[in-house]
Amino acid sequence: MPVLEAPQILVIAAALAAAAMWLMLPRVRAGAPSRAAGVVLGLASLGFFASQLPGLGDWADGLIVFVFSGVTVAAAAATVTVHKPVYAAIWFGLVLLGTAGLFLVQGAQFLAVATVVVYAGAILVTFLFVLLLAQPEGRAPYDRTSTEALVSATVGAVIVGVLSIALGRALSSPTLAQTMPPAARRATGVLSEHHVAALGTELFARHLVAVEVAGILLLVALVGATAIATVRKEHKP
């Protein structure tokens, strides 16, 4: 019988993560708490979380998943804790690549490349444009500090904790997908050879309205941005 049950370990891990993030978030005043301690606590928290991961079968698969997850989480922590805005953007890019890698390990090829194309290739580049032009040196205090360190660390940790406990419950009982024989899983899931076609059929048959609504929303945003950006002529009365 283990000393601690799974939910308790996850709660401890989340609390450690909150403390670590609180220590690591950038501050205004000199003599702020030690960031090295934050890194140590963060690693401990990661260890607790990792101990709760279910077994992944083949050790090579497991190693790849652990490397990608570790890189993603560490880069995510770095995104919010580094001082320079441009570096934050780069770390965020690494988060996206790590996520894409995790998708790829799961066999979701299209999601993986779409993540890279849309987020890293388009959205993040737009961020970079603004960051490069706005503060080349990154010296402004509002760029370098986190104003509500305690609140944001707590909220983040609560979300992560609740999600991982819920996920742990879900994983402890076998899901429909896991009870299916491998051949059936291969035919229906992301491991299928034609999963892109299947994904497209699903999107444009079952979720057609949602896709169209999202498209129209983007179009409206585009028109709105154009209207705001256009130089207005002063009308004389």
Binding site: V86, Y87, I90, G93, Q109, F110, V113, A114, V116, V117, A120, G121, A122, V125, T126, L128, F129, L132, L133, P136, E193, H194, H195, V196, A197, V231
Partner: protein, 403 residues
């Protein structure tokens, strides 16, 4: 065994690409010399002898020069990003080649997980999203340009990086539209399937969707950032653009990456629009191959790619550089509408074309080719009529009457 096979492929690919890049620099200089009526590099041959070999030793001399130059890092740069930028660019460009087929298959069977299959001439065979993967790798290249320009901490570099970033970002849209048309006709995102489909029908996509080819070709040109589109460098105004502050091996990495971008653009043009390894009466179209056919297919593909690259090189000395506002007009007001028209035409054809042309008793692909060319001419004429003849980028001024 599959790991070994992949490693061998990667090694061959990297060696081949680097050698090709080195020697194509020489070819480019020869082409430039020919167009400008000069002799070009023709002296470097075997060292310490008088054998010249038409200048074939030049790439080796260039490489040694780059490697042995002083590695000068300016004091005011952001060191980490300054070193990282060329690496990001290079890695992204190389990664794109993982899904690009260099031929069809070799007639050697390997056994993997109990199933035997012939060796496919691509590093990552069976990637279901090949085209999007190439696209994704290309979109990562923007980071190298932007970060290189920013980290150099130099106004010219920053301006070059921003210009180039905006250019790459804008031209990704028409590029994607060009790819989408081909994907719709082939019904797959897999590059191997796209080639096979063209080989089996015997009609290359260039014939049935010339408008898509036009859009993709120009956008591919812009993505590789060569002369009509080389605003990032623009020697006369920006010194060297985003790589002004780079030297030695880092500059070499950046220059090789630019060549790799041209390779990938050429490969994609050939694979998507010019039938890949297919040539009528020579290569066949089946998946069962013998050794001669396998080799001929590789040679045909590489020959087509070489022709495309030569076209790139000749084009470099044939058009003057665009101004920035012309560049943006080209992307957003010319290529984007043309791409959309192309996509719409193909969508209508994929849905109704087959039925209608069969009902009329005509071969569907011939009908599509005729429709494609008519659409190209009409769309071109409409754009030519709608766009102004001259463009003016002087600052806006209120007319005297209104003031």
């Amino acid at each position: 065994m599959p790991t070994l096979e992949t490693l061998v492929k990667i090694a061959l690919l990297i060696a081949g690409l680097m050698t090709a890049a080195a020697y194509l620099v020489l070819v480019e200089r020869w082409v430039a010399a020919w167009i400008q009526d000069r002799l070009g590099p023709n002296r470097v041959g075997i060292p310490l002898t008088k054998v010249r070999l038409f200048g074939l030793g030049q790439p080796i001399a260039d490489g040694v020069k780059f490697l042995s130059k002083e590695e000068c890092t300016p004091a005011y740069v952001d060191r980490l990003l300054y070193f990282l930028a060329p690496i990001i660019m290079f890695v992204a460009a190389m990664a794109a080649f993982a899904v690009v087929p260099i031929g069809s298959v070799l007639p050697i069977d390997v056994e993997i997980d109990g199933t035997t299959r012939p060796i496919e001439l691509v590093v990552a065979p069976g990637v279901d999203v090949g085209t999007v993967f190439v696209f994704a790798a290309g979109s990562i290249a923007v980071f190298g340009v932007l970060l290189g320009g920013w980290a150099s901490n130099n106004k010219y570099s920053l301006l070059g990086g921003l210009r180039s970033g905006a250019q790459l970002l804008s031209y990704e849209l028409p590029l994607g539209l060009g790819i989408l048309g081909v994907v719709m006709v082939a019904g797959s995102l897999r590059l191997e399937t796209i080639i096979t489909q063209q080989a089996q029908s015997g009609v290359w996509n260039a014939a049935i969707e010339p408008l898509g080819l036009l859009v993709f070709f120009v956008a591919g040109f812009a993505e590789s950032g060569r002369l009509p589109f080389d605003l990032a460098e623009a020697e006369q105004e920006l010194v060297g653009g985003y790589h002004t502050e780079y030297g030695g091996i880092k500059l070499l990495l950046i220059l090789v990456t630019e060549f790799l971008h041209m390779f990938i653009a050429s490969f994609m043009i050939v694979i998507l629009f010019f039938g890949g390894w297919h040539l009528w009466g020579l290569t066949g179209s089946g998946s069962e191959v013998t050794w001669p056919v396998a080799i001929i297919r590789v040679l045909v593909l590489l020959g087509k790619v070489l022709l495309t690259i030569l076209f790139f090189m000749v084009a470099r000395w044939s058009w003057p550089r665009f101004r920035f506002d012309q560049l943006m007009t080209m992307a957003w007001k010319v290529l984007l509408p043309l791409g959309l028209v192309n996509l719409l035409t193909l969508a209508v054809w994929v849905e109704y074309g087959d039925r209608v042309s069969r009902a009329m008793g005509l071969p569907p692909l011939a009908v599509m080719a005729v429709c494609g060319w008519i659409v190209l001419i009409v769309a071109w004429a409409v754009l030519a009529w709608a766009l102004p003849n001259t463009t003016d980028n002087r600052p806006r001024r209120e007319s005297a009457g209104e003031l």
